[in-house]
Structure formats: C-alpha cells, structure tokens
Amino acid sequence: MSQLPFFEPPSWTVTDVTRYLRNLLSGDEHLQDLWVMGEVSNLSRPASGHLYFTLKDANASLRCVMWRNTVIRQQVLPRDGEAVEVHGGVDIYEAGGQYQLYADLIRPAGEGLLYQEFLRLKARLEAEGLFEAERKRPIPKWPRRIGIVTSPTGAALRDMLNTIQRRFALVEVILAPSAVQGTEAPVNIVAALENLNQVTKPDVILLARGGGSMEDLWAFNDEGVVRAIVASMAPVITGVGHETDFTIADFAADLRAATPTAAAELATPNRVDLLALLFELSERIRRSAGANVQDLKWNLAELTNRLKLRSPEMRWLSDRQRLDDLARRASIAWINRLKVENLRLEGASQRLDSLNPEAILERGYAIVTHQDGQLVRSIKDVSPGDDLEVRVSDGQFNAQALENLEN
C-alpha cells in the first residue's frame, strides 16, 4: 500500500489548466494552419455578425467560429448540410472550456480540386500567348452596336441595359442569349460569340454574368470559351462575378471589368461628358464667330478714346474722378468704424449675461427667500418652522425649514 505524500502538490486552478492547454495548442504548427473537411450543421449568425457552426463527419464534430470581419469578406456563406472545407486554426474558448476552429476561409468541398485545375489550364494557355498584351484589341470610344452575351433573365443583363441607357442610349444593343452556368453553358457561350460576330458584326462584345460561387462561374474557365474570346473579331469585355473573381476568360478578354455594370461603362462614353463636350464646342463657336465683329469694335473704341484724350473735356473729367475717389474712401472709413463699435457692444452684452442671476440658476443653484422676500444668506437667517420660497431656473416652490444644522 502506497503512502500518501506528506505535502500534496498544490491544486491547479481551472484557468491554469485552460491556459496550459491553450499553450499546447497554439504551439502546434499543424493546428494553427489547417484545412478541415466536413458537413456544416447548427449554423447560426446572430446580430453580432459572427458565424457559428459545427463541422461533422461520421464519427466526430468540431465547433467553428468565423468572426464578423472575416464573414463579410466571404463571398458565399455555407448552409446547413453542405459539405465544405474550412481553413483556420484551433484554439480554446476559455470561458466555455471548449476547443474550436477559428475559421478564416470557407469553400465548398471540391473547390480545392477545381482551383488546381484552374491554375493548370491558365498556365497552359498563358504559355501559348493567349493573354499577351499585344494580342488585345482596342475598345472603340463610340460604339454603334454593342453585342451582349449573357443570360436573358439575369440581373446582369438588366444592370448592363440600364447602364447603357443612362450613358449612351444612341447605341444599338444585340443580345445573344446564353446559359451562363451549368454543363451546357460553355458550348452556349461559344455559339453566342460566334453567332454575334458572324451575323451582326458588333463594335464590341460584353460577356457577363452576375456573382456566384466558383462553381457557378466555372463556364468562364472553359478552354473553348477562352479560345472563342481570342477568336472573336470584335473586342470582348468580360464582366464576370464580383470585384474579386478572376476567371480565365478575364485574362483572355481585351478588357476585364469587375462587374457587368462596369463592363457596360467601359464600353460606352458617358452622356454627361458628351454634353459637356458639346457645350464646349458651342462656346468655341460663339467666341470665334464673334471675334471678327469684336476686332472691328475694338478698333473703333480705340480711335474714340484717342480723340477724347485730346479734348478739353478731359481735364474736367479727371478732377471729377478724384472727387469721387475721396468720397468713396471716406465712406469706407465710416463703415469700418461702425463695425468696430458693433463688436464692442456685442462683447459687453455677453459679459452682462454672465452676471445675470437667472444664468446662475440654470446651472443648478437656487435662491431661498422668506415669504416677505428677504434673502436667506446664512443659517442664522432661518429658524425651524419658517416658511420659505425657493426659486430655481424655471419657477419657484414653497418649503419649510425643519432643523438648523450648522456646518
């Protein structure tokens, strides 16, 4: 039988244990930078904006948190039941005694593979020279005919049409409707681009789609689509997804816009600028057409002046002018004097305000008097039982002295 040690080791506090574990976790390089694969459950996003969920597989579950500032950068938020890959680091939430994954990136499962595929295709096409700057065609400044390849029902089309109507409605728009996601999308887009070029010969083509997940935008990473862009006779502006989405089509395009709306802007001059330009031209016409007449008038005026300078009338005119000048200077001096006096008066009136007893009452003081109006300045002015009046800033009330307590 083992003997108990005489002095037991001191107990650890809960905080001590938790801190010790935290140190172990945060010192482990695998746990601080890892991708975890699993199914999302118990997803919640309270008013704080942070995202809480649990990742599960057949045998285990892992609590996850994504802070609000990371959540808002996340393009697609996961849904319950969805298979995802989450990147982050494992740490302990001390107050709850729970270890959890602090997530900084969430992507649909399988996207990692798609991304590898994306990089491989991009590198291959780049090596072929498809993205070279010299290959890019200039975008016409004033297109007459704009071709659009996009879904006929999407918000992207509506945004582009609104933008063009607002900026340069004189243009003619030809829509080549096409699916922009799903398996048939690449073939559709290629056919639409070819059809537009052959039938209508637009000055520029907008190839666009609204935002979505990486999978939604996948048609724009299709090799056939990329080659159709390169082969297009008209220059192509892409506007796919959001600011941060880059597709291979974007690299091959003659110009890449961040969004469908931005693509429409890059393809059209702005009405406001054109109106300003028209105004400027009209002004130049007015000035130069008037110049001839103006020259003649000048000559005439100069001759008249020279005549006047020599006339006896001139002498009198110059005296008259000196008088006017003196009168003007005198009146300016007088006005300045008045201004100074005014300022003085204002200053004095402000100082008076600060002495006014009412102003003191505003600050929370009170004036106490007897019923006959006699001021109470000292405890000696009051006897117990005296009826008093107390004046505060917005009125007065009656009071009675109870007991005299000298300081």
């Binding site: 004033w142 007459r144 006929p152 029902t153 509506r158 049409l161 063009i164 109507q165 340069f168 409605a169 004189l170 243009v171 003619e172 728009v173 030809i174 829509l175 080549a176 409707p177 639409a192 059809n195 537009l196 039938v199 209508t200 009405r271 054109l274 109106l275 028209l278 105004f279 031209l281 009209s282 130049r284 016409i285 007015r286 130069s288 057409a289 110049a291 001839n292 007449v293």
Partner: protein
C-alpha cells in the same frame, strides 16, 4: 450657297435628319474652320448658326434617345422585350 474654308465644305442637309456621329463630326469641322478664321463676316455667321444647330441637335439626341435592344435568335434579329 457654296463657299469653302480649308477644312469644311458647307453642308445644306437639314440638321435634324443627321445621325449623331455625322452631326458631331460636322460640328468639329465647323469649330476648326471658325477658329482658323479665314472667312468673311457673312460666312462666319452662317457657320455659327449651323454649328449651334448641330450642337443642339446632338444634345437632343443624347437626351431623348431610347435604347433599342434586339435579340439574336438563330441567325435572325427580333426585338427584345426584357423579362
């Protein structure tokens, strides 16, 4: 009336019938012709009036234009009505 400046041949086509690009190109020529200034007062006045009419016409076209959208179906164009 036909009279010439180095860069501009006076055009008598009615301003209102001109498409935007054409009206704008003519307007630019008139501005240059006036600024070079090799014309009589009478000619200048004509250029001035034609130039201002062109500028007004262009501005009108910009302000009043309604976007025309067509849809390419197969090899044919038809009007697109939206969603």
């Amino acid at each position: 009336m036909t009279q010439t400046t180095p860069t501009y041949q006076f055009n008598e086509a009615p301003v209102d019938a001109l498409p935007y690009e054409q009206a704008f190109a003519e307007l630019e020529q008139i501005v240059m012709a006036l600024e070079i200034g090799e014309h009589t007062l009478d000619e200048g006045l004509n250029l001035y009036q034609r130039g201002q009419a062109l500028a007004r016409h262009c501005a009108d076209l910009l302000e009043k234009a309604e976007l025309r959208v067509q849809q390419l179906v197969g090899g044919a164009l038809e009007d697109f009505e939206g969603e």
